[in-house]
Symmetry: C2
Subunit: 315 residues, 2 copies
């Protein structure tokens, strides 16, 4: 038995990343390619097979040494069936990812949700390392999440575990893309931060940011520079994250909440506000127990997590 | 090795219940006593030791056949230290339950949170039987909860896992006893159902219920009989439960949500409204997957769950 490595692939609508890792989670090799999404499912699968071949060749790893491959994809998906049910960015409906990529690579292949893979990556090799139970919250266009309990990624029978962004924190509140009102995503995503800012400005609130199109990063910068409206909007984002953090602490009593995504580039400016809003929540014991940390793996999280999931193929 | 039985005790502020169960969770014997709460911690411990002795004697079980005892107490508590940190109904602060009851009974003793024990009871022997992952929601003066994931009760390092009632569903909303605003407990508890009814009536809404003091049961009865205000209040309770149910489905993708407590006596009248409000939530896969069921064990849930927790002492 000379299976020493596994391959992790993180497939996004724009780029795909791959890494080969050993049993100790050391990254032996990594590479990436652009995703030929417009060329359709078969073309994407072929490019990922080629990416894998190049990865192993460059690292001088023989395929016989590779125990398997895990591909992290946007969902919803069914990991038991090996199918992505719907990936809007890729225009995929019910595509047999596991069978197709397995046939093309000749490797034992499994499928994982991309947000779950990123969360698991932080758990095994990033800001969650050493914790038993960790929640990941990813702030972007939406709010993604992953739940790891006692070392186990919570996938659930529908492969939808960890959909933190669509937990309601303000019933009847802001419209969420999912159809509900008041989801965390409708308040704490980068998109919502921009939306709340623009709405307040349209309602007549003055701001130093006067351009019609404003980015989340610009709002954070203006807040740091003292713009009152931007400060208020960022404080709101921190408040809503703290409410969700309190909910998680009370429901699951985790060791850590790890936050990732563009807004974490604001560093302590954001995290100090989140922690200040969070520490005052009631139920001192679980609240004090849970640390709120910035993710550390950046864009590597997904591919590391996918590789971590693939490790079970070596067992 | 002739350890065939374990003992479960469910300690409440008014009554204590005990049961002896075998390895297959069959209840060999059960009894109960009133809790001498006013006489202090030592008196309560002595009465529980006596309850245990009587239980075993009546069932003709020799103590040498008993592998251990689990006592379910109100919390917060620390099961690792065997201490109840604070039990308001019993006026306990930092009391060494495990050591004291273990010394008095001569049995290996462990401690469990009462809401968790009740949830675990439903999981192993009630409405959750056969599920892998189940959440319990208990509607009473407050809203209690328990989380069982892949067969494991989620206690957490602070022994506070499952505090479902203090997840915020309407940030900035109704004041909760915990100090937060907008907790599920502030909307879905029996107390809140009464509170929302009384407030609406005080605000001038007419109702057939005119007595100053109204119970949750009376509101449900009036709603069944067509009282418009009562119908609206009960529909609100069902709506808030459905919001929390949707949150749980999205975050944890459980198989079942089991609801217990006084209001479930309304049966289908309540559950039909909860399910109707729930089934329209987005994210069809986890929502459709999770069944919402009425608890079936009634007041036995805690003692059965405590006994279930004690089974690990036989391992």
């Amino acid at each position: 038995m000379s299976k020493k490595y596994v391959v992790g692939i993180d497939l996004g609508g724009t780029n795909a990343r791959a890494a080969a890792v050993d049993r100790d989670l050391h990254i032996a090799a990594r590479n990436r390619c652009s995703t030929p999404a417009a060329d359709g499912f078969a073309a994407v699968m072929r490019s990922l097979a080629q990416l894998t071949d190049e990865l192993l060749r460059d690292a001088k790893i023989d395929k016989s040494e590779v125990g398997g491959l895990c591909i992290a994809c946007p969902g919803p998906l069914d990991g038991d069936q090996g199918i992505v049910i719907h990936a809007p960015n890729l225009q995929w409906f019910d595509v047999p990812v596991v069978k197709t990529l397995g046939d093309l690579t000749g490797l034992k292949t499994i499928l994982e949700n991309d947000a779950n893979a990123a969360g698991y990556g932080e758990f095994i090799a990033g800001a969650g390392k050493g914790a038993q139970t960790m929640i990941m919250m990813t702030l972007g266009t939406g709010v993604g999440g992953a739940v790891v309990i006692d070392g186990q990624l919570r996938r659930g029978p529908s492969w939808t575990g960890g959909e933190l962004g669509h937990t309601v924190i303000l019933d009847g509140g802001r419209q969420c893309a999912c159809g509900q009102r008041g989801c965390l995503e409708a308040y704490a995503s980068a998109t919502s931060t921009v939306g709340r800012f623009v709405e307040a400005r349209q309602a007549g609130r003055p701001s130093s940011l006067t351009a019609a199109a404003v980015s989340c990063r610009e709002i954070f910068t203006a807040a740091k520079e003292g713009d009152e409206l931007a400060k208020e909007i960022v404080a709101g984002t921190a408040h809503y994250i703290a409410v969700a953090a309190s909910n998680l602490a009370n429901l699951l009593n985790p060791d850590r909440l790890v936050i990732s995504g563009g807004p974490i580039q604001a560093g302590d400016f954001l995290f100090d506000q989140i922690r200040a809003a969070y520490v005052n929540r009631p139920f001192a014991r679980p609240v004090q127990h849970m640390q709120i940390l910035s993710a550390t793996l950046g864009e590597d999280a997904g591919v590391v997590g996918a590789a971590g999931c693939a490790l079970r193929l070596l067992a």
